[in-house]
Symmetry: C2
Subunit: 228 residues, 2 copies
DNA sequence: CGACATATTGATCCGGTTCAAAGCTAGTGG
DNA sequence: CCACTAGCTTTGAACCGGATCAATATGTCG
């Protein structure tokens, strides 16, 4: 939506994002290459099959990376949380779409210039490598969740993953959080229909595992019931 | 299984693996850190919840990265092809198991020493970053496959992905190839039972999309029917 | 050849999809 | 401020695809 120069000094992810690996002058150099931008919910940051000439770090909010099937249905492939990096470096075209789930803020870079910076600053390359390793881990976990057999297991594991992602402390799941996704998006992610997602949530609530507050709020009542 | 010094000169992935980014002397240095090792089918390279003090590059064969569910069933989270890198850098413990699907050969490194090399040689860091980007792409594709609704679609997309992986040319799927996985492993990967996998394969053969040769051989007869 | 593991095929059952309708929620404008 | 709409969510009923249980077939290795 809007676009303006970076203000790293007040950036909430200034010591977690990839750029935090850089020292004073180098960081200032990188900051000159980027622009701050806000996104409204649903706004598309990168479209699929587009030029792929940009990349970004998420500062605030949440993004989704998704593909659109031949039949027109959307399939979410990953969620991006603050300090996350998006953009397919090294690839000629972007094959996935990146869009905002909630009101978000990003630092936007030209891909060419960012790749040059990766070349110039080894610490940036290593920081991105570290991020990628985490992304790989998250994605493998997601494969494990989506590949489960029953809808109940999928929803339970999904909720746990969301609780962990929402938590500030590394491993401890958050006791209550808001789902950043609509039922349709959850269904598209887990290979379930909207109706099944809804039914599983009511079932989990009836069995005392969770409590729903409003339409998107979740409270973990009995995390053990969700599978640890 | 066996273990011996590296012989980069005759390595089949010498110009595709991460180490190929290094020049003469640097490469020789890295080679001194690693050991060549062969694996028999099913042999475990890294166990889950273990020390995680090693990493490796696959030279020949195929590996699987998997997790074991509470109920004891195995869930395959990614396949690794020659030139692929395995090992969770930066993580304190390995959370997934890595094992050989077929007879394989790897270059095995101490994780500590490899991380030091990444620190020392920026080109290695960038090469690993490039590899990770590809792995991320493959894994997102896998999430898309596993998240599909019908068993038919899952199998079709899976076969196409395998055909592409088996192909030497980048995008063109191989016309015929061998599945490196048993039915149980395919099922565990896609969230299907052994029986369903078997039935889908016979159905795909009857409809003329594929031809099965022996137990694991697949010939693509009509790739379009598999979804492009 | 014989024995074991893996794969295929068949019959039944259940969970998740599908189709349909009614509740909610939030946003809009009178 | 409230009525009203549009989109999302929940709930219900019927159907169907995949799971499950069971038996047979095929391949593999001693």
């Amino acid at each position: 939506m809007t676009s303006s120069p970076l203000a790293c000094a007040t950036c909430p992810v200034r010591d977690r994002a990839a750029c935090s690996a850089l020292g004073g002058e180098e960081r200032a150099d990188l900051a000159r290459l980027g622009r701050h931008r806000t996104l409204v919910p649903g706004e598309v940051l990168f479209a699929a099959d587009e030029d792929n000439d940009r990349c970004a770090t998420l500062v605030r909010g949440a993004l989704k990376i998704s593909a659109t099937e031949r039949d027109g249905s959307e399939r979410i492939l990953s969620l991006v949380h603050p300090a996350g990096f998006v953009g397919e470096l090294f690839a000629p075209v972007a094959r996935f779409e990146v869009a905002a789930l909630t009101a978000s803020e990003v630092c936007l870079f030209s891909r060419r210039e960012y790749e040059a910076a990766v070349e110039r600053y080894p610490a940036l390359a290593r920081a991105l490598l570290r991020r990628s390793s985490e992304d790989l881990f998250d994605l493998r976990s997601l494969v494990g969740i989506v590949g489960r057999h029953s809808a109940r297991e999928k929803m339970a594991a999904f909720l746990l993953a969301m609780a962990r992602a929402a938590s500030s402390s590394p491993c401890q799941p958050a006791a209550s959080f808001d789902l950043p996704l609509s039922r349709a998006e959850i269904g598209g992610m887990l290979g379930l229909t909207i109706e099944t997602v809804s039914r599983q949530l009511t079932a989990l609530e009836k069995s005392g595992a969770i409590r729903r507050v409003g339409l998107r709020g979740i409270e973990l009542v009995d995390a053990a019931q969700l599978g640890s």
